[in-house]
C-alpha cells in the first residue's frame, strides 16, 4: 500500500516534469493535446489509486464515468455546430 502510493506520487511528479518540459518546445496545438493527454493520465492515476476506483463497485465506477460521458455530449454536439458553420 505504502509502496503503491509513493510510486503513484513519483509517476505523477515525473508526468508533471514532462508537461513542463513539453511546454518549452514549440509544439503548437499538439503541445496542448499532449498536455491534456498527460493530465488525463494523471487524473486516471489519482482516480484509480487514491480514490480507490480500483476496488470500487460497478455503481461507483458508473457514477465516475457518467460525468465524463455527459461532458463528452456537451462538447461533441456544441463543437459539431462551431466547426461546421
Amino acid at each position: 500500500m505504502i509502496f503503491t502510493y509513493w510510486m503513484v506520487w513519483l509517476v505523477l511528479m515525473l508526468l508533471l516534469g514532462l508537461t513542463v518540459w513539453l511546454s518549452s518546445l514549440s509544439l503548437g496545438m499538439w503541445g496542448t493535446l499532449l498536455a491534456l493527454l498527460i493530465a488525463c493520465i494523471k487524473a486516471l492515476l489519482v482516480a484509480v489509486f487514491y480514490m480507490h476506483l480500483r476496488h470500487s463497485s460497478g455503481l461507483i465506477r458508473l457514477a465516475a464515468g457518467a460525468a465524463l460521458l455527459w461532458i463528452t455530449f456537451l462538447f461533441a454536439l456544441s463543437w459539431a455546430d462551431f466547426l461546421s458553420r
Partner: protein, 531 residues
Amino acid sequence: MSYLTGPPSLRAWLFTRDHKRIAWLYLITISVFFAIGGLAATLMRIELATPAGDLVQADIYNRLFTLHGTVMVWLFLIPAIPNTLGNFLLPMMIGARDVAFPRLNLLSWYVFSAGGLLVLWSLLAGGVDTGWTFYTPYSSTYTNSHVILMAAGIFVTGFSSIFTGLNFMVTIHKMRAPGMTWFRMPLFCWSMYATSLIMVLATPVLACTLVLIAAERLFGVGIFDPALGGDPLLFQHLFWFYSHPAVYIMILPGMGVISEIVPCFAGRPIFGYSYVAVCSMAIAILGFLVWGHHMFVSGQSIYAGLIFSFLSFLVSVPSGVKVFNWTASLYKASIRLETPMLYALGFVGLFTIGGLTGLFLATLAVDVHLHDTYFVVAHFHFIMVGGMLMAYLGGLHFWWPKMTGRLYNESLGKVSALLIFLGFNLTFMPQFLLGYLGMPRRYHSYPPEFQIYNVLSSAGATFLAVGYLLPLVYLTWSLFRGQRAEENPWGAHSGLEWATASPPPTHNFREPPRLEGQEWGAAPLLSSVRL
C-alpha cells in the same frame, strides 16, 4: 402516532428532518409561487384580449412574461412533483424510513426558498425583461433590468435541485427494503430516478451559464456579445444543454404519477411495466442530446441542425411507447372515473397532443415557420400545463388521503377536473392556429386579424383560473372537515405507501416491510408484502 401529530410547533416543522414534513414545506412554498406566476399569466391574457397594447405598457408586459416563465419553470414546475409528492412518497414506496440524507433534504428546502426570495426581490426591485431564456447579448449587455439579481436567485435554486436529485438517487440505490428489486419498484420511483439523473448532471451547467452572464454584465468580458468578441450562440448551447433536459425534469415525474394512477383505477396491473420503466431512463438520457432543436433558425450550422433534428425524433419514441402502454392498461380493466383518474385521462390526451405537436417543431423546415410563434407556446403549455400540472393535481388528489388522512369532496373534485380540462383546451388550442398563422410570441400588441383566437384564449384562461382556485378551497376545507381516510381508500394494489396508515407514522412503517414472491407485472405488488 402519525407524522402530523408529532410536535406541532413551528420550530418542529422548520427544523424537521422527516421527508413527509419537508414535502409539506415544499407544497406550501410552491403553491405561493404558482399563485404569483398565475397572476402574471392572468394579466397577460387580459392584455392580449385586444390587439392594441392598452392595459399595460410594453415594458411591463415584457416583465410579466419573464416573471411568469421564470417563476413557473424554476419555482413551480421543476420542484412541483419531485419535491412534494416525490419527497413524501419515494422513501415510502421503496420501504425506507426516510431519504438517505434527511438534513440535506431540509437544506434543499431552505436553499430553494432563499433562491425564490431572491427572484421575488428582483421582481420588487423592478423586474427583468429578458424572457426566462435570458438570450444574450440582450440580457448581458443591453437590458437595464435586474438580470443579475434574478440570475442569482435561479443559481441558488439550482442547488436545491442538485441536492434533491443526489438524495433521491442515493435513496433509490441504497435504501430499498429487502426484496424491493429494481423491477419491483413502482414506476413513480423509476421516473424519480430518471428525473434525479437530469437534475444532478444538467443543473451545474445552468449555474455556470448564469455566472457567465453576470460576468459579462459586470466586467464587460466578451463571452457572448459579439461586440466584445463573444459568441451569442454559445449561450444558447449552454442554456439549452440544461433547459431542454429540464423539460424532462418537469414531465417525467408527471409520467410517473400517471403510471400509478392509471393501474389503480383500472383495477389491473399496468401493461408493459418494464417498457415504461426503461423508457423513463431512455428519455432522461436521450433528452440530453437534442437541445439544438431550439436553435434551428438561430444561425446554428445546418449540419448541426440535421443531427439535432434526427436525435429529437428518436427521443419522441419512448414518450409514445408510454402513451401506448397507458392506453393498453385500460384493456380488460374495471375502470372507475374518480377525480385522480379524470386528471390521468386528461393527462394522457393532452400529453399526446403536446408530444405530437413537438414533432412539427422537430421537423426542420416546419420549425423554420413555427419557431418563436404561438405554436411553440401552445406546444409547451400542452406538455407543462396539460401534462405536468394535470399530473400534479391528479397525484395530489390521489395521495391526499395518504398525506392528510382525510378525504376531499369527490364531486367538487370531478367538477374542477373537468373545468380545468375544458378551460385548458379553450386556452391553448387556438394558440396552435395563431402560431401557424404566424403570430410571434412575446408580443404585447398584435395585428387585428389575430384577435379572434386571442379572445378565445383569454376566455379559456378564465375557466382555467376558476378551475385552479376550486381545489384550493375544497382541499383546504377537507383538512379540517374531511372524512377520515382509511389505509387504502382507493383500493390500490401497488405501492407500499398503501400498506401503512393514513397519515403514515413518522418512520413510515411500524416494521420494515419485506417483499416476497413474483416480480412486478406478473402479480399485484401488495399481495407480496409482508409487514
